[in-house]
C-alpha cells in the first residue's frame, strides 16, 4: 500500500526542522527524513547560532536548548604571516535576553534537540535514511525515493532541506552543480581547553562567549576566505574557510590550511595546551550564487543552504536564514492547502515572502559587496599584511620625524592599495563638504 503524507521534509537541519515543526504544529501529517543516525551527526558549522527566528517560535529556547555560550563580544583580526591588527566590540546589552540572538552551539547536540521539538509537535522523524531522488509525475514532484525497503514515499508537497550539496534539486534537473566561486570549504577543529583556562584566556566568565574572525595571509594563506575561533563551554571551535575557486587555482593542499592558521603566533597562544577532539569539513554556500530563483516547483520547495541562503560577509550567517526560509515555506504550504493547490504558482508565495524578508534583502544587498571582494584578491593576500606593516611603521620608536614616515606611509597606501586610498579620499571629501 502506498503511504501518503501531507508533506515530506528532507533533511533535519535548522531549515527542515523548522518547517516540520510548524507544519506538525498546524496539525499536518509530516515525515522528516534524515540521513544521519540522529539529526546533527552529519552537520558542521562554525559555531554561532543566530536565533532571532527560533526565539519567536520557541520563546526563551536557551533555557532548555543545549547552547554553549551567548556571544557578548566579537573581534576581527587582520593577520600577516607574523603580525596582527585587530578591533573588537563587547556590550553589556548582549548579556541579557535575548542575548543578541547569538549563541555558540555544537550542532550534533543542538540539531538533535530541535528535531525532538518537531517530534513533540507531531512530526514523524526517520533517521539513518538517505533520500536519493525526487519522484516526479509529469512536471510535478509527488514524493521521494529513500534508499531503503519500501522507500517510495508520497506527499502533496516535498521540502528539500538537504543542505549545501542540494543533490535532490540537482538530480531533478532544477539546479546546476555548485560553481567553485559560489561555494566555500570549511575545515574545523574542536579543541578542548579546561573551562577555567578558557575563561581566563579569553576574558569571559559565566555564560559569556567570544567570537573571533580572521582575515589575511596569516589566516588563509592568501586564499579567498577567512578563519574563525569561537568559544564553547570547555572547548574552542577553530576553522578556516576558503572559496573553492581560489583553492583550485592556487593549488594549496587543504589539509594544511588549519595547521597553517594554528601556527600563527597569535593563534598559537590562544590554543596553547588545547587538545584536539574532532576534525571536521563541510561546504558553505558563498554569496554570489544565482539567487532566489527556482526555489519553487509544482509540489516542491527548496529551503536553507539547499537554496544558497548564507550571508558570508561579516561572519557566516546561515542558521537564522535557514530557519526563516523553513518558516516561510511552512506558511506557504498552509496557504496552498487552504486552496488545495500545490502548483508552482501557488507555492511561489514562499519565494515572494523570502524576497521581501531580511533574508532576500540582505543577500541582494551584500551580493554586490561579495562581487567587489571577489574582484580584489589582494584583499585576501597583500592587504592585511600591508596594513600590519603600516601599523608597525606607525608605532615604531626611532629617531626620525613622524611627518616623514607618515608621508611615506601615505605613498605606500596610494600605490599598493589604490582602492583603499580611493575610499579614504571619498571619506575625506565627504567630511570637508
Amino acid at each position: 500500500m502506498e503511504e501518503k503524507f501531507d508533506a515530506i521534509v528532507v533533511g533535519a537541519g535548522p531549515a527542515g526542522t523548522t518547517a516540520a515543526y510548524l507544519l506538525a504544529k498546524a496539525g499536518l501529517n509530516i515525515i522528516l527524513l534524515e540521513r544521519g543516525d540522529y539529526p546533527g551527526t552529519k552537520n558542521v558549522f562554525g559555531g554561532v547560532l543566530y536565533s532571532s527566528v527560533l526565539n519567536r517560535l520557541i520563546p526563551n529556547f536557551w533555557e532548555e536548548a543545549p547552547v554553549e555560550r551567548h556571544v557578548s563580544a566579537r573581534q576581527w583580526y587582520l593577520l600577516s604571516p607574523t603580525d596582527a591588527l585587530s578591533f573588537g566590540f563587547q556590550s553589556q546589552e548582549f548579556d541579557s535576553p535575548p542575548f543578541n540572538n547569538s549563541f555558540t552551539v555544537l550542532r550534533s547536540q543542538f540539531d538533535r534537540w530541535y528535531a525532538a521539538k518537531a517530534e513533540e509537535a507531531g512530526a514523524f522523524l526517520i533517521t539513518s535514511t538517505v533520500v536519493d531522488d525526487l519522484l516526479i509525475e509529469g512536471e510535478r514532484v509527488v514524493g521521494v525515493r529513500a534508499r531503503r525497503d519500501e522507500g517510495e514515499l508520497y506527499a502533496d508537497v516535498v521540502i528539500a532541506a538537504d543542505g549545501v550539496n542540494s543533490l535532490l534539486a540537482q538530480k531533478a534537473g532544477f539546479r546546476e552543480e555548485l560553481k567553485p566561486e559560489a561555494v566555500a570549504l570549511g575545515i574545523k577543529e574542536v579543541i578542548a581547553l579546561p573551562t577555567a583556562v578558557l575563561e581566563e584566556r579569553f576574558h569571559i566568565s559565566g555564560d559569556r562567549g567570544l567570537a573571533m574572525e580572521f582575515f589575511g595571509e596569516g589566516a588563509t594563506k592568501g586564499l579567498e576566505g577567512s578563519a574563525f575561533l569561537y568559544t564553547n563551554k570547555d572547548s574552542l571551535s577553530l576553522g578556516v574557510t576558503v572559496v573553492l575557486k581560489s583553492l583550485f587555482e592556487k593549488k594549496e593542499k587543504s589539509v594544511e590550511l588549519v595547521e597553517h592558521f594554528k601556527s600563527h603566533p597569535v593563534v598559537k597562544e590562544l590554543i596553547k595546551g588545547g587538545e584536539l577532539r574532532e576534525y571536521q569539513a563541510h561546504l558553505i554556500p558563498y554569496g554570489n550564487r544565482t539567487l532566489l530563483t527556482g526555489l519553487c516547483r509544482d509540489g516542491l520547495l527548496v529551503v536553507g543552504d539547499a537554496a544558497g541562503l548564507v550571508n558570508p560577509t561579516l561572519y557566516y550567517e546561515g542558521t537564522n536564514m535557514a530557519m526563516a526560509s523553513g518558516a516561510m515555506a511552512a506558511e506557504a504550504i498552509l496557504a496552498a492547502r487552504e486552496e488545495g493547490d500545490f502548483s508552482q504558482r501557488s507555492l511561489s508565495r514562499y519565494q515572494q515572502r523570502l524576497e521581501q524578508s531580511f533574508v532576500g534583502q540582505d543577500l541582494t544587498q551584500y551580493r554586490g559587496l561579495g562581487r567587489l571582494m571577489e574582484e580584489r584578491p589582494q584583499l585576501y593576500t597583500s592587504y592585511a599584511t600591508l596594513l600590519c606593516r603600516l601599523a608597525a611603521e606607525f608605532l615604531a620608536v626611532r629617531e626620525e620625524p613622524r611627518g616623514m614616515r607618515e608621508r611615506a606611509m601615505a605613498g605606500r597606501v596610494q600605490k599598493e592599495m589604490p582602492d583603499l586610498w580611493e575610499a579614504w579620499q571619498t571619506v575625506r571629501r565627504w567630511y570637508e563638504t
Binding site: R35, G36, D37, G40, T41, K42, N43, V44, F45, L106, R107, S108, T127, S128, T129, V130, D132, A146, R147, R148, V164, N165, L167, E177, L178, P180, V183, L185, I187, E189, V190, S235, L244, L247, F248, K251, E252, K253, S254, V255, E259, L276, R277, E278, Y279, Q280, A281, H282, L283
Partner: protein
C-alpha cells in the same frame, strides 16, 4: 599532527561498500588532478599515473565532486547511518 592521527579521533561507522568510485579511463587524461589537493582528509592520492581513493575517512563534504570536472567521479552519500558521525559538529 598528521591527518591520519586527526581522523583517528573521529567516530566513523565504515560501510563495506564504497560510496565513491573513480572511472579510471575518464580520470586518466585529467590535467590537474585537483582531487589530490582539495580533499580535506587527503583521500585521493596519485600512485604512478593512477589516482587511488580510500573512502573510509571521508567526511562527506562534497569538495571532490565539484573539483572533478572530468565526469570520472561517482559521488553519493553513504548508506543511512554509515560514514562520519560527528559528536561535536
Amino acid at each position: 599532527m598528521e591527518i591520519a592521527d586527526k581522523l583517528a579521533l573521529n567516530k566513523f561507522s565504515v560501510d563495506t561498500i564504497p560510496h565513491l568510485k573513480i572511472d579510471q579511463e575518464k580520470c586518466h587524461p585529467c590535467p590537474h588532478k585537483n582531487c589530490t589537493l582539495v580533499c580535506p582528509v587527503s583521500n585521493y592520492t596519485q600512485e604512478g599515473d593512477r589516482v587511488v581513493l580510500s573512502w573510509e575517512g571521508c567526511l562527506e563534504c562534497g569538495t571532490c565532486r565539484i573539483a572533478c570536472d572530468q565526469g570520472s567521479l561517482q559521488w553519493q552519500y553513504p548508506r543511512g547511518g554509515f560514514g562520519i558521525a560527528y559528536r561535536l559538529g
